[in-house]
Amino acid sequence: MVLENQDNRNLWEKIGDFFSANSIWMKWYCTGCGAIELPPTMTSRFDMERLGMGPMATPRQADVLLITGYLSSKTLRRVIYSYEQMQDPKYIVAFGSCTINGGIYYDSYATINQLDKYIPVDLYIAGCMPRPEGIMNAFADLITMIKKGQANGWRHYQENYEWYKQNQLDSLKEVIIHDEFHE
């Protein structure tokens, strides 16, 4: 995805982005191996609350969705649901090589290979799995991006909704979830 470099936000949006950058609530989607790297990032050793970040209980409250590893197509439906429940502005950070190109699951029949065909990823963290230092570094980058107004994935999703929906349908056949919680 191309990041637009020209800054055409008005003053109000700049102030808003300042607040958004300094207070990031996250919801992490515990897929794959990456969820286990987050508790050390949150607790005393790395302490992400220094950056103003903290965990939230539901997607509605959160600003950033963390996809922590490979996604099976079954999980992808839930991820799309969660993402669409979040309130604008919202960001996605994807962890590990599995979300970039499939990683070691590149030829699996059950997982998707390239996450940003389905939902707009603002930032990738390379590694298998990225260590907490890498994660902290990425969050610092995310903060800079939001401050500069470059984390525009959510706008991109709105503008290219058909393209994303088409990709989702191509892989999943239908995005609607059939289980006891969603019917």
Partner: protein, 306 residues
């Protein structure tokens, strides 16, 4: 009642919000230090609230929206009746009953709004929150009625003024130690601090009543929570810990009381809701009744140190 009263009321409201939000931020740092972390910036709570207000928001129906407004309105109305260090925006209206009824408007608005979101977690959270309220309110109310009986007044500022001039020995918490203990424990329940925070339990019931709030609604809920904390801590401070002779003393005592509650709560586990009710009806209720009997029949701690 003149225009000036309303201006004062607004000032109290603004000051309460700024003071309590800053204090919450500082306490997040205190919490972090307890957990051997560095912690967020002290003004992080302001950033969080303004961030939430900046975001988009969706509605879950009329009841959901109206409940938020009703809760915020009720709580804001309560704040302006709270006497701060003898200063009242509306003199002679700081009756305990006025405050507790207005507070109920806010609480019910919140319950209504959360239930209006239609999420089952929210309903569980609301039912737990109201159960919790029933649990701490009975012992606390018995102690407060004891105070009203002992001092022949229900005015918060008058009860606060009567405790001043004798230093620590004048505080109701010292004159009536059992009542003081009950009030202090009830403060944990009122603030929803551990061990009585089963109604927000983020990992178990996805933050209970707050589950469907996002963006601006959540921002309003945060403001509401700060103001509610101000009301509750102020009430306990004025009734049991002597209020304050000046604004500065009041602010310092307030900060110490709130921080103490926070520190203790950080090393506590969490009660299940039935355990919390059982606890309140076993220990504080008995203390409250004994305190009431002592004051009514023996008169200890009312006019002088016996």
């Amino acid at each position: 009642m003149t225009v000036m009263n309303f201006v004062y009321g607004f000032i109290v409201l603004l000051a309460a919000f700024i003071f309590q939000t800053a204090l919450t931020g500082v306490n997040r740092k205190v919490t972090a230090r307890i957990q051997k972390r560095y912690g967020p910036r002290w003004y992080q709570q302001f950033l969080d609230i303004f961030k939430a207000l900046r975001k988009g928001s969706i509605t879950h129906g009329w009841v959901f929206d109206f409940g938020v407004i009703m809760a915020l309105g009720g709580i804001m109305a309560t704040v302006i009746f709270i006497p701060v260090a003898g200063f009242e925006a509306f003199p002679n209206m700081d009756n305990v009953f006025v405050i507790s009824y207005l507070l109920a408007v806010g609480m019910l608005g919140m319950a209504m709004s959360a239930a209006g979101s239609g999420n089952p977690w929210a309903s569980i959270g609301v039912s737990r929150a109201l159960t919790n309220m029933v649990a701490y309110d009975v012992p606390l109310m018995i102690v407060i009625f004891t105070l009203i009986f002992a001092f022949d007044t229900a005015s918060v500022s008058e009860i606060a003024a009567m405790q001043q001039g004798m230093g620590v020995l004048g505080w109701n918490a010292v004159r009536m130690p059992l009542g003081g203990i009950v009030a202090f424990i009830a403060l944990f329940g009122m603030l929803g601090k551990k061990p009585f925070d089963s109604f927000i339990a983020p990992a178990e019931i996805a933050s209970g009543p707050m589950v469907e709030y996002g963006g601006k609604h959540l921002g309003f809920m945060f403001i509401l929570h700060e103001l509610m904390t101000f009301i509750e801590v102020s009430l306990i401070l004025s009734l049991f810990f002597g209020g304050g002779s000046s604004i500065l003393v009041y602010a310092i005592k307030y900060a110490i009381l709130y921080t103490l509650v926070n520190i203790i709560s950080q090393v506590m586990p969490r009660f299940k809701i039935d355990q919390a009710v059982k606890f309140f009806y076993r220990v504080p209720l008995v203390f409250a009744i004994i305190q009431g009997l002592v004051v009514i029949f023996l008169g200890w701690g009312v006019s002088v140190w016996f």
